[in-house]
Subunit: 390 residues, 2 copies
């Protein structure tokens, strides 16, 4: 275990009655509100009307920034910052999934920074203040509702850039699993993959003696494996939706990272993929993660992959060597992805090898020359992993 | 899963370099400091001198309240409150284990309450402000360093009373596992039992569909079972001490309680025991908890106890019925307690049945007539459990 500082101040309201806390939160932070949301889904499920009615009760003035797309872009962030500045907004309220929340985080930071908000993502600039951010979550996936991270893509060069800072922790987040019952199966599946990936990125570390967090991750991954089939069978199963939603939150809130260094190569390789092809992040991870596992297995990864196989997928000793047990774990992970309707190869998504060099080089360059921590990857390694994913 | 609000704002500095954060914390909260500590151990391990040297660098004015005993009493709390008021203390700094931290919590609350501090424990009074509290932990056990609870005994009637409030969360806590390497085996063992009990109290619930927290608790309990033998074999094993210390913190920080209702009957039955006989809290729990399990097993507890037996102690199906598997789990828990040098019966501690009626009645009265949640206990049930513990 390595030394760490851990703090996560986000207040979580979870459950069927979670939204009833919105009023008290608005009274705490102020009622000049920028409402950030995505497409029409929050209107379709009636959540938009519910939120607006509650805000009206607080005599709130609300400015709206709707239409946020998946793989969120920089332009709406700039528009949101302008709205905050022009109207002395006191609270940014994100209603939606990770893209909406990440956009809102960038706005909440950028509104308190005099320069160009993109500087905060490149490290060229920094801020110490941030507008309070509240979130109402409709898609369990990114875990952004209790995380310190925000990922935004700059349109002109398709550069997808993340920023981790304690300033990104929302002040409060409202999670009602009922909002997720009407998610289409594909989006549900992509969310499940993303949640599990957040934990697997942390699980695969070279830091030794991390038994507590290893075991908590294993337990949380098993919870995902057990509840995923239920929501495809019965989409409005509240209990299974609740397990997935709370796991999604804890998967990325930095608790499961304490005392260890995560890998994150797969996420960054996927960022290149989705920046270029606009594939859903979770769908991309279902392709990249198993390929990454196959690449690291014979390069020092067998022991940890075998632990993963045994404890998460109950691969029995009868499979033989560490390598064989590890390989069976990867196969079972792929089978799980297939079972929830996802593909695990690039060619099934009509993606060829034409951009591998460019993607590999940029992924490694953005990581400062070495990508990942479990195995340090150079551009040629990254390219080989993309090839394994073909 | 039931609806919940979760927030834990305590900032944790963990590891060999954790104490290096003390200066920045003092600069954040103020350098008029009440230092609360216990017997001589923090002087013996050199920690007292280290802390005083760091506080001197911050030009701190320090008032001292030493000599806090296990099962902390009300009188020193009153003395601490007086010191805070007389000297405009800005930060209460607890250096020690749960008793020291619980005392410091009561002081930090009482200093901001005009009436008698005991009113806060009985519910007769309430406060909304609290002095900032920092802790430097030397005993992993109570988990008070990241918890919302504080337990104090009033001397005149041996009434041991707990209070849970978000005001009790420390502002920061410093955890260096090295400080715990010199703990005597008995104290190490009592701490391990207490940590595990904090998780088992939450584990045994009637709330259904709590898979994530169930599995996280199971993983954390297994971590304790695996690392306990190491520290008795090799007391200065940093890695095992670190696993125990971080587990002790998470065991009681309310995360593992999200979406569920804990039982807490065993803790409250133990409080009666240690209030009357001054037995160490952990030693008392090692006696009470297995007796409680044996009592609830045939009264609707078999299913959850069997899950506990299978997942935490790997009891195989070959044991037969749910009841037999559950019973074997209890036997293995008792065997574990014995393996770390503790007893599991009252008579081994020279305690007879003379006070059972009084203890049972008070435990149930303090709980408002029904003790526990997994099984609701009346005074006659509590007495029967004490009898099972003879």
């Amino acid at each position: 275990m390595i030394d760490f500082t851990f703090q996560n101040p986000t207040r979580i309201h979870f459950g069927k009655t979670a939204l009833s806390h919105l009023g008290e939160e608005v009274r705490r932070y102020g009622n000049r509100i920028l409402l950030v949301y995505g497409g029409g889904s929050i209107k379709r499920i009636g959540l938009y009307d519910e939120v607006m009615a509650l805000l009206k009760q607080e005599n709130a003035q609300v400015w709206e920034l709707g239409g946020i797309q998946p793989n969120p872009r920089l332009s709406p962030v700039r528009r949101g910052i302008e709205l905050c500045r022009q109207n002395q907004v006191q609270l940014v309220l994100a209603v939606g999934g990770g893209s909406v929340i990440d956009t809102a985080k960038a706005i909440a930071n950028g509104a308190c920074y005099d320069g160009d908000v993109w500087d905060l993502f490149t490290g060229k600039g920094s801020n110490t203040e941030v507008l309070p951010l509240g979130t109402i979550v409709t898609i369990p996936a990114a875990g952004s509702e209790m995380s310190n991270s925000s990922v935004i893509t700059r349109e002109e060069d398709q550069c997808k850039c993340g920023r981790n800072t304690p300033l990104n922790f929302p002040a409060f987040s409202i999670l009602n699993p009922e909002y997720t019952c009407s998610l289409p199966p594909y989006q549900t599946a992509c969310g499940i993959v993303d949640i599990m990936a957040h934990m697997m990125e942390r699980y695969f570390t070279q830091v030794e003696n991390v038994e507590l967090t290893d075991r908590m991750i294993e337990g949380a991954l098993r919870t995902m494996l057990n509840n995923a089939p239920i929501v495809f069978e019965k989409p409005d199963d509240y209990d299974a939706r609740a397990e997935i939603m709370w796991t999604g939150c804890l998967a990325h809130n930095t608790l499961l990272q304490t005392g260890r260094v995560g890998d994150w190569a797969s996420h960054k390789m996927e960022h290149e993929l989705s920046a270029l092809y606009d594939i859903a992040h979770g769908a991309g991870l279902a392709i990249v993660f198993p390929a990454w596992m196959k690449y690291v297995l014979p390069r020092g990864g067998a022991k940890k992959l075998a632990q993963f196989a045994r404890r998460v997928f109950e691969v029995p000793e009868a499979f033989g060597s560490e390598e064989a047990i590890a390989a069976e774990g990867i196969a079972r992970l792929e089978a799980f992805y297939h079972s929830i309707g996802l593909t695990t190869t690039l060619h099934e998504n009509s993606i060829g090898d034409q951009d591998f060099d460019r993607m590999a080089q940029r992924a490694v360059a953005l990581a400062g020359g070495n990508l990942g921590f479990f195995l340090r990857l150079k551009a040629e390694d990254v390219k080989a992993i993309y090839q394994l994913a073909l």
